[in-house]
Amino acid sequence: MAEAMGFYTDTTVCIGCKACEVACKSWNQLPAREGGQPELSGMSYDNTVRLSGTTWRHVKFIEQFDAPYDGRWLMMSDVCKHCVQAACLEVCPTGAIIRTEFDSVVIQSDVCNGCRACIGACPFGVIDINPVSATAQKCTLCYDRLGVGLEPACSKACPTDSIQFGPISELRTRAETRVGQLQAAGEKRAYLYGADPDGALGGLNSFYLLVDEPEVYGLPRDPKLPSRNVAKSSLFSGLGAALMGIVGLVSLRKRRMDERSESDEGSRPTTTPPA
């Protein structure tokens, strides 16, 4: 396998220009929503709102305003995390989801049958159905571009280098240096989310530099694999099945005993014995 490739996203330099979103849509020929009609979210300056089957990159606007002119605006370009231990790949029953030679996770649209198991399994809410193909879709880490030595469209388009692409080991070193730089400058909250290969899901091949709790960015604190529940759930179901089987057999035995006692009563002499 070639070296693991991925994204390091430094949210502190994201300016919310959405160039990455546009580049992603453009390169991957993803359809517009509502036939291209302007659509406003009505609750945010962000009108894309979320990742979907037709939006594989989404710049989140985290708008924390208690009062006018008093607040904070965080921005984060969100995408598939290409988890080292991927929940979607784990549950996919068709084998449509594969791990590539770049350690990225790709859905093969011609194999996917749209069962949607991966959507509920993804701990980050990344995957969705593309209404055009009727299959599950998400970021491919521009697999086609990587194959010919190009970097993904989003990182290529990012004007501030908030999204950086490269070998994961190199990106980690770069990200750690940046965290040190921010902390030295007084931003003590800076930390890396998903960069630890010994952490959740074996590390994320798309990791982030954040300056607040993960939940603030809409990220789970401790993402887990769905298979964590297989053994216990199956065990409890198995015990339930055994219990139900016993109930069935005990009920049959009870029926037999009831009938026997009824027939015993029926065969008993009804006349009163002479005094």
Partner: protein, 307 residues
Amino acid sequence: MSDTFFTEPPDWKWLIIFYFFVGGIAGGSLFLASILQLFGRPSDRPVIRLAFKVALVGAIISGILLTVDLGKPLRFFHMLIESETGRPTLKLWSPMSVGAWGLLFFSLFAFLGWLGARHEEGKLKWSPAALFTRGPLAAVNAVLGGIMGFFLAGYTGVLLSVTNRPIWADSNWLGALFLFSSASTAAAFLILLITRRGVTASASLEWLSRVDKSALILELLTLIVFLVSLGAVARVFIGWWGLVLVLGVLIAGILAPLAIGAGKVARVTDRLGTMAMLVLFGGFMLRVVVILASEQIHVASDQVMRS
């Protein structure tokens, strides 16, 4: 806040709810038929035949519902066969993969049981079918069919638990809950068919009613354990879905049938019919609540971000 609140729903709605309900009845019917086939007596034969028919029809409906629900229904076979190599595909850690094979084998055993039933009724003259009426092959079919019946009844709950969705992945008790509910709804459905069709099977009816009541009690206990195991996530049920859970599942679907069935059941077929209908309603509502209460929850970031 549970990490499950940062995920998106898979849009499993009414087709899946109906599948869980119908598949549960089919699974429950096959294991009830198997128990009677193995340990019952000749007077149970009409109910055994009926249960095999219900299992087969349920399996067919289940297959149709699941296929129609796919985004690409014509690729349904990708669940079983690798499209590139043509080899069988099975992931033991993916309940959907195991479930696809489970439903296939369930259908096979239900079909063989149905063949035996048709032959016994004189509606099928094909003599090998007699092998599945009585004898060692029928017993083997009953054992394997019973196991697959239990599987189909419970795996749907396991499938929900093996996700990252709120409610579903926050408890390990959904499989057991659905299994007991499948047992109670299957028994109720058979009771309903027997009483409506006037099948002479009072002893079998009494057994089914007894099994139904026991399954309801186990379902009630598991429902309580399930809600407790959710911990803080159970707050999702404060509101509309909680009301449906209490009124539709707990009161109408479990407590009322238990109260109605408390009398001498063998002589009160009307009462049994009412009880059965309530159990079926409760079993359906259980699946509605469990699935839709989670489906309505979208990624929490919107709320968090604006808090």
